[in-house]
Each structure stands twice: as C-alpha cells, then as structure tokens.
C-alpha cells in the first residue's frame, strides 16, 4: 500500500518506482523516438531503424519485466499495480508482441511490406502507382509500440481511470493499423471504420460505467471498490449499472458474444500481421483487465454477477463454434475460433480463484502463440492478388507445400485441443479450474463447443491434404527471416507448452496472486 498522497494539503507527486514502470516506459519511449524517426530520418534509412527500435524496445521491456518479477506493490499513487498477474501478462504481451512485430516487419513475402501509409489514395491514380512502387509505411512500428505499451499498462492498471486511459492508448493505434493494408484496401478501411465506431461505443460504455461506479464507491481505485462492494449501505443500482457497462467495454475487447460482431469483419479486413497482433495481444490484455476487475475489484458479494458472465461465456463458446462451421474464409474462420477461445478463457476467469487466474493467463499465452503462427502461415499462402484467404483456394495445399501444410495442421490440431499440443494443456487448465469451482455447466458446454469447433478445423485439414489441388492453387511464398522466425517461435511454443508445460504453469501459478 503506497497511498499516502491524500494526506498532504498541497498537490504532491506520488512516489514512482521507475524500475517497475520501465517496461511501459521503454515501449512508449521507443514509440516516441519512432515518431521522431519518421519526421527527421531519410526514408531509405527508416525501415531498418524502426524495426531495430521496435524489436529492441520489446526485448528491453521483456528483460525489465523479468528483472522486476517477484515483487508485489503498487506505485504511482496506486495507479499501477506491480504484481504477479500484471507482470506475467506484461511478459506475455511483450513476447507475443515481439512475435507479431516480426510478422509486421516482414518485407519478403509481400514486397514492400503489408502496409502503405496513404491508404485513402484511390486505386489506379498516379499517386497510387507511385505509392505501390515504394516500400511501405514505417509508421506502423511506432503505432504498434504504442498499442503494446498501452496493453502493458492495461494489465497493470490499478484504478478504473488508468484502465480507461490504457484502453484508449492501445485501441487508437489499432484502429489505425487496421486500415493500412496494402492489398484489399477497401476491406481494410471498412474494418478500420467498423472497429473504430464500435470501439468508440464500447469505450463510451466503459467510461460511463466508471462514472457510475465512482458514484457508487466514491473512488475508482480497485482496493476502494473492493471495500465498497463489501459494505451494505451502498446504492446497489449504481453498482449493477456501472459494473455491467464496465463489463461491456471489457468483453468487447475480449470479443465475447454478444459484443463480438466486429471481430470477423475486422480480423478479415485488417492486414494479417495486425490481425495476428490483435488476436494474440489484445486478447491477453483484455483478459488481464477482466481478471483484475472481476477477481479483485468486484468480488461476489451483494451483487452476484456470476450467472450473467456464465451465460455470456456459454453463449460465446457456442456461437463462436457454431458460426465457425459455416465460414469459407480462413481469416473469418480464425476470427470465430478466436471468439470461441474467448469463451474458454472466460471459463478460467469464472473459476474466480487462484487456479482460475493462473489457468486464464496460461491460456492466453498458449493461444497467442498458436494464433500468431496460424496467421503467420495465412500470410504465406498467396496468389498474384495477395493472400488467398478463401478456403476453396487452399485445396491440395498439402501436396504443393507439405511443410507449411504440416505446420498449419499441427496448429489446427492445437486449436482442436488434441493432447501433446498447447491447446490441450491450456483447455485442461481452464476447465479443471472451472470444475474445481463447481462450474459444471461451463465445462460441459466447453467440451461440446470444442467438439463442434473441431469440425471447421478438420475441414481445413481435409482441404489441404485430402483434396486434389486445383489449377489455381496458390503458391506458398518462401518466408523471409522475420516470418520464418515468428513461425518457428509460435510452433515451437505450441509444442513445448503441450509436451512440457510444467515450467510455464509453475510461473503462472506463482504469479496468480494479485496486489490491490
């Protein structure tokens, strides 16, 4: 407890532990330097400089997370919590962000990179021709760094206002990044606008919820909220309204039903590396926020919100799985699968105990690696018009490119939850935590939903291996160093977390204790 600023009459700066904030400060700093690089460094040097800055920043942030780990306190006037879940998820965001950054930085698969800076230039105009002949935008690196920094802040935010600021800091760059695709620009911009509008809506809900909760508790700090929930003389209407609005904002980011409708369109339209970033890192951050809010700030007391979240988790698992069955586009398929996976992770949250926290964190880490590698492979399957995302085009891929098809099959089996992959261990972790907390219905629906979800994944396997290749089966590009590295990391992590998860499980279970 480091709350001693209220006592002083004049405004006094709170104590700030810079080492604890270092991971975030490094990322924000690197992002700011990146903006300066855009302004002052000649175009031909920018790419190398920006990529080194981004990767160096992420590695440094990760190192700082490791250095700080083991300590538990709050800092910056209790606005930031430095505890196990925060550090574990910051590490998760850093590692997954690093892998995603490698995908973003690749320029061999798509000559010039997947991004352009002036997405609104009309196709076919001289300006467009000039733009398409140039190497792509380097603004994406600082933008992605801002987003990742915001996510790190989001998982460590210890009061609702900081949580909101962090939410905006990581959301705004993502809206932009969604619209910067080099190919299929209209789709990309549509995705950006949709994401922005719906995201703005959800932020408004979130903020209104914060206001109501302030009205309820007279504070926005997690510890104060927790205390207020325990008291009986408060206005529980404010609590119910505020908490539900707050939950809307959080569940929107986590892509839980019924706040999921943006997911397929945005995942499909956004440049694939950005989709990968959102599927892995945004999900991790969103669940960090959900855990802190629901496990710490609002323990089940006067208002039992659990049935509502249980219903949401059940509907999320079922809707994600059932709608995935009908998809014909690989990116949309992965989007619906990511919705269903949000449901599985929610199952872990709803255990509402230490095991639940640990298993949810393990889940988002394991899922992040697999989904990054899966989207990495999506970037490789191409025809002259860019990525060939329609599933019909994947027919016979196993014949043409056995290695890529084998890796993708492995990842799909991980999504199915076949043992010896991280998909199985992570599902086991969340379901066992939930069953340990007597959430039998959740576990049974989760199992049914994973069985349903197996069907669309298998359809992809069937297409790749068991169908004859068509004349126009896309080629698989040879991945550049960056994409190859990120694929290797993703696939290896999926295998290791499936075969020998004990080390990471250990870290997660030690990190599962919150500080308020």
């Amino acid at each position: 407890m480091a709350t001693r600023l209220l006592a002083a009459p004049e405004l006094k700066l709170p104590d700030i532990d810079y080492a604890a904030l270092a991971p975030m400060l490094i990322l924000f700093g690197a992002a700011c330097v990146g903006v300066l690089v855009e302004a002052f460094v000649p175009r031909r040097l920018r790419y190398r400089l920006q990529v080194s800055l981004a990767i160096g920043g992420l590695v440094a942030a990760l190192v700082m997370v490791v250095v700080v780990s083991g300590r538990r306190f709050t800092t910056a006037g209790a606005a930031i919590a430095v505890d196990g879940p925060a550090l574990f998820l910051q590490g998760t965001v850093a590692v997954l962000g690093l892998v995603a950054m490698l995908l973003i930085a690749d320029r061999t698969v798509e000559p010039g990179g997947s991004f352009i800076s002036q997405a609104s230039v009309a196709v076919g105009t001289p300006a467009d021709r000039q733009q398409s002949s140039q190497p792509g935008a380097t603004e994406v690196y600082p933008l992605a760094l801002f987003a990742l920094g915001g996510m790190m802040m989001f998982v460590a935010a210890n009061d609702l206002l900081t949580l909101f600021v962090a939410l905006e800091v990581f959301s705004l760059p993502l809206y932009l990044l969604c619209g910067l695709a080099r190919r299929r620009r209209l789709l990309s911009q549509e995705a950006a606008v949709k994401y922005f509008l719906l995201g703005a809506f959800s932020s408004a809900f979130f903020l209104y919820g914060v206001a109501l909760l302030y009205g309820f508790a007279g504070t926005v700090q997690m510890a104060g909220l927790r205390r207020a929930v325990g008291e009986t003389d408060r206005n529980s209407t404010l609590l119910v309204l505020g908490l539900s609005m707050l939950a809307v904002g959080l569940l929107f980011k986590a892509a839980a039903v019924p706040f999921h409708v943006w997911t397929p369109d945005v995942y499909q339209g956004a440049p694939t590396p950005v989709t990968a970033l959102m599927a892995a890192c945004t999900k991790a951050a969103a669940f960090g926020g959900l855990l802190r809010v629901f496990v710490i700030a609002f323990p089940v007391g006067a208002v039992d919100w659990r049935p509502v979240l249980v219903v949401i988790a059940i509907v999320t698992m079922l809707v994600g799985a059932i709608l995935a069955v009908t998809q014909t586009d690989i990116k949309r398929l992965l989007a619906y699968s990511s919705i269903a996976n949000a449901g599985y992770a929610l199952t872990g949250v709803l255990a509402l105990n230490r095991e639940g926290v640990a298993s949810t964190m393990f889940y988002v880490l394991a899922y992040g690696f697999a989904v990054l590698a899966a989207f990495g492979i999506v970037t490789l399957v191409r025809d002259p018009d860019g990525e060939a995302t329609h599933l019909a085009r994947w027919a016979g891929l196993g014949r043409r490119s056995p290695l890529v098809a084998a890796l993708f099959t492995f990842l799909l089996l991980a999504f199915v939850g076949i043992p010896l992959t991280s998909g199985f261990t992570s599902k086991f972790a969340v379901f066992s935590a939930a069953l340990g907390a007597d959430q039998v219905a959740l576990v049974i629906v989760g199992m049914v939903s994973s069985a349903i979800l197996a069907f669309p994944y298998l359809r992809v396997v069937v297409l790749m291996y068991l169908s004859e290749p068509a004349e126009d089966t896309p080629t698989v590009s040879v991945p550049g160093v960056f994409t190859a590295t990120s694929l290797t990391i993703g696939v290896l992590a999926t295998a290791v977390l499936g075969l020998a998860p004990e080390a990471v499980l250990d870290i997660a279970s030690q990190a599962a204790g919150f500080v308020t």
């Binding site: 056995p402 379901f431 340990g436 197996a454 396997v461 291996y465 068991l466 004990e502 499980l505």
Partner: protein, 521 residues
C-alpha cells in the same frame, strides 16, 4: 505393486515405434523399398520385444507388472506411469503381432488405392503413420495414469485420421471426418468426466492425482459416480463402437485401406472395451452395477441389429465392419455380465476378434485389389479363379462366425456361458446372433466365391493371380494363431483370468454359485 523388473519394458515398447515413425518419415520418398523394409524392421523389433515382455510376465505375480513412473506435469499430478495387467498384456501382444502383418499386407497401399487407381501418396508418410499409430495404441493399453491414457486415446485419432483420409477409397474424406468428429465428441465427455474425477481426488486425497491406483480407492457418491460413469462410458461406447454410436464404423471401415481397417477394428476400437474394463468398472463400481442392465440391452441390440445389417450389405468392407459391431456387442455383454467366465471370455474375444476380423479384412483387401471393387455383386464364382485365396477367405469367415475349433468360438462360448448364469435371457437372445453370424458369413462366401463364374471377373487381369508369397506370409501367422488358440487357449486365458477377477473384485461382485459348468478352466 512395483514389479521386480528394473528394465523399462513398457516405455521402450511405446517409444520404439515412435522412433521408427520418425526414422521412416525422414527417409527419401524415391526409395520406397528402403522405407517399407525399415518400417517392417521396426515393427518386427517391437514384436520381438513384446515377446520378451510376454516371457518376463509372471502369471501368478502382481496384478500390475512392469510399473514405471516418471514425473511429467507435477502441478496437475500427472505422471508418465506405465503398468500392464493381464488384459493390457494380451492387447499389447495383439498390437505387436498385428502391426507387422498389416505393414506387410499394406505393402502397396500407398502407391495405389484399393480400387487400383495409382496413388500419388507419400510412401514414407503412410508407413510413418502406421508406426505412429502403433505407438499411440501401445500407449493406450500401457498407461496407468488416467491423463496419460487420455493423451494416447486422443492422439490415436490423428494418425488414423490421415490413414483413412489420405490413403482410403472413394468416400475417404467423409469417413475420416466422421470418424474424427464422433471420436472427439466422445472424448470431450471423457475429458470432462476425467477432470471431475481429478477434482474429487484433490478433495479426498488432499492432492490431485491421475494415478489409476489412487483413483480406484476414491469414495465417490452414488450420484456423482453415475455422471462420471456416463462420461467415460459414452466415449468408450463411441470408440468400441456400441449401438447407437456405431454409425461411423461402416463408413470408416469401408473407406480405409484394408490393412488400416484391420488395425482400426482389430485393435484401435478395443481401446473402448478395454477402457470399460480398466476404468468404468473399477473406478465407478456402484454406477457400473446400476447401468449394467442398460448396457446389456444396448449390447444385445448391437449384436442382433448389426448382424441383420451385415446380411444386407453389398460392400465387403462395410459388411465386415457390421459383423464387428455385432461382435463388439458380444464383448460388451461379456464385460457387463459381471462373472469371471464372461469377463475372461470378453477379453479373449478382444484378442480373437482382432485376429479373425483382422484376417477377414486383409483377405477382403486382397480380393478388392484384384477385382478393383468391393461390391459383392462384382464377384461370383471367384473361388474357381483363386482357390487358395478363397480357402483362406473361408477360414477367416468361419472364424468370424465362431465355428468350434477356431479361436473366437472359445471366447464367444465363455461369454454366453458366463452371461447365462447372471442374465439368462440376454444370453439366450445373444445366441441368435450366432445364428445370424452364420447367415452373413456363409451368404457372403456363397455370393462371392461359389456359383457360376461372373464373366466380368475374367476380364480383371489380376483375378488370375492367386496368393503371392508376400500374401502367404501375411495370412499364415493369423490362420495359425486362430487355429492354435481355437484348440489351446489356455496360455492366454491364464494371463487374462487373474486380471479379470481382480477387476470384478474392484467392482465388488463375486461369481454366482456354480450351477453347471463352473470350475473348469
């Protein structure tokens, strides 16, 4: 319970085929002979090793032998624990015998489909998948940690999925997906029940565990037992398969290459009946007794219904698949009749059915390759062209209908006899299945091998080629074993019976007072 053996028999037995699969997968595609020889070599090494293990097994010793345990995921109490009782041992032996035979029988399966189209399939992939399948099957029967069992139980699906889907016949995609989704749905329930059991172990023992030996000591409330039993049972009933969860098997058996189908029905599906014996009965004794009448009824329906459907089939491979469903009904009756005779008969049936149906599938495969079709109506009088093959086909058929003197007779007889003492009417009705069995086998033989020669047969060039030397080597050991176990099943029964009795004592039932032929072994 720890055995005397210091040598890690079971883990070596599990890993050897996996090493083989990896080696085979890395061999060059353009040298199929080397690939096949290596795969055969590994499977023979596994067989030899299993032989050593059989010799090292002490029939009068502990219930579980060859126990090994290594840490794996300490947070969840998961260990690599292997141990084999008599039931597991005979199944391991069956796997070890059947795999090299199937590899030899599938010598050309990767290069052409069984209807004769030239395949463009990878030979190393095919044999690596077969060896990987052997590894997972061995793991299922050797695991003594329930989590480990589940891991192998699920992992088994993957190589089989690709074997059916990539190397099968006409409707292979549909069949492969159906197989996978059915099995996965079943094992989803199994996983839920497994986690439930694990949570209970954490409550009662203070520390969560998946160790079978500890889990079987738990005291679980009646209601919970019933739910957990259903979770386990449905997964196993899908795998076995029992009526009404059986519809995937005719599709899978019909589409899979013959050798793969022999493994699928001969061994892989036994994981279901094995699971009932090893997990349902000892872990949930009250629930097992509670549900036994229901299981007996669906097993009985399976016996009769599948036999009737088998009679109506026009596709040889689908026909054999239906006969297997009928036989699985017998095994189910044997398990849930709760007498040591019926239980021993059921386990023996698991072995002899593997041999007999394995042989039948392989011989059918040989016929299909020659004719280019699996339809019975495309045959007729083929015995005149293929005297030796039709002879072997006849033996396989007779074994399948449990003719006295063949191995399945002993097992079927034990099942019926044992069931009669506790469930008279079930045994009586199941005997009808024996009659129907004679019907489908003999009618199948008559329509394919006897009668006037179908003129289109002479146009198929390969129909004049009787058994090749390779095929003789394939069928000879199976025919020999079927006949040998038909007259002298004692060595196998001696291994099985103590394990079955231990299972029944876990269940808390004892044999009824002998009424007639009790006491003989």
């Amino acid at each position: 319970m720890t055995g005397m053996q210091a040598f890690p028999f079971l883990s070596v037995l599990t890993l050897l085929p996996l090493v083989g699969a990896i080696v085979v997968a890395t061999l060059p595609r353009d040298n199929p002979r080397l690939v096949k020889a290596t795969a055969l070599g590994f499977s023979l090494a596994v067989a030899a090793f299993a032989g050593l293990m059989w010799a090292a097994y002490n029939v009068t010793g502990d219930r579980f032998q060859f126990r090994e345990s290594y840490p794996w995921i300490p947070q969840w109490g998961v260990k690599f624990t292997f141990a084999a009782d008599g039931i597991a041992l005979v199944m391991l032996a069956l796997i070890a015998i059947l795999t090299p035979i199937v590899i030899l029988a599938s010598w050309h399966d990767a290069e052409r489909t069984d209807t004769g189209e030239p395949g463009r399939r990878s030979v190393p992939a095919f044999f690596a998948l077969l060896l990987a399948l052997e590894c997972t099957m061995i793991g299922v029967f050797a695991a003594a940690d329930v989590f480990l069992f589940f891991v192998f139980f699920e992992a088994m699906l993957v190589p089989m999925y690709f074997l059916i889907g990539s190397f099968g016949g006409a409707r292979r995609q549909y069949a492969a997906v159906k197989f996978f989704v059915y099995s996965l749905a079943g094992s989803a329930l199994l996983l839920a029940a497994l986690i439930g059991l694990w949570v209970i172990s954490a409550d009662q023992l203070g520390q969560a565990t998946f160790d079978w030996a500890k889990l079987s000591q738990l005291d679980i409330s009646q209601n919970t037992q019933r739910w957990l039993f259903l979770g386990f049972f449905v997964a196993f009933a899908v795998k076995a398969p029992f009526f009404p969860f059986h519809t995937w098997l005719p599709d899978a058996g019909g589409a899979a290459p013959a050798g793969t189908a022999a493994i699928l029905v001969g061994v892989l599906d036994k994981a279901g009946t094995f699971g009932m014996l090893r997990y349902c009965l000892p872990l949930f004794p009250d629930a097992s007794r509670y549900f036994a009448p229901m299981v007996l009824v669906i097993a009985l329906i399976g016996v009769l219904y599948a036999a009737l459907l088998a009679i109506g089939q026009n596709d040889l491979k689908r026909l054999v698949s239906y006969t297997s469903i009928s036989h699985f009904g017998f095994i189910g009756i044997g398990i849930f009749a709760f007498t040591s005779q019926a239980g021993t008969g059921a386990v023996l049936y698991m072995v002899t059915h593997g041999l007999a149906t394995g042989l039948l599938f392989l011989v059918v495969g040989m016929l299909v390759v020659r004719r280019g079709s699996a339809l019975i109506s495309d045959f007729g009088g083929a015995g005149k062209l293929l005297p030796v093959l039709s002879g072997v086909f006849f033996i396989a058929g007779l074994a399948s209908l449990s003719l006295p003197g063949t191995a399945p007779f002993v097992s079927e007889f034990l099942v019926l006899l044992g069931a009669f003492s506790t469930n008279q009417w079930v045994a009586v009705l199941a005997t009808l299945g024996v009659v129907l069995g004679a019907g489908y086998v003999l009618w199948m033989y008559q329509r394919t091998m006897q009668g006037t020669l179908n003129p289109t047969l002479t146009e198929a060039p390969r129909m004049r080629q009787d058994l090749t030397r390779r095929e003789v080597v394939v069928v000879a050991p199976l025919v020999a074993l079927i006949l040998l176990l038909g007259v002298y099943p004692k060595p196998v029964i001696d291994v099985i019976e103590p394990a079955v009795q231990a299972t029944l004592s876990d269940l808390g039932v004892s044999d009824p007072v002998p009424s007639s032929a009790k006491g003989d072994k």
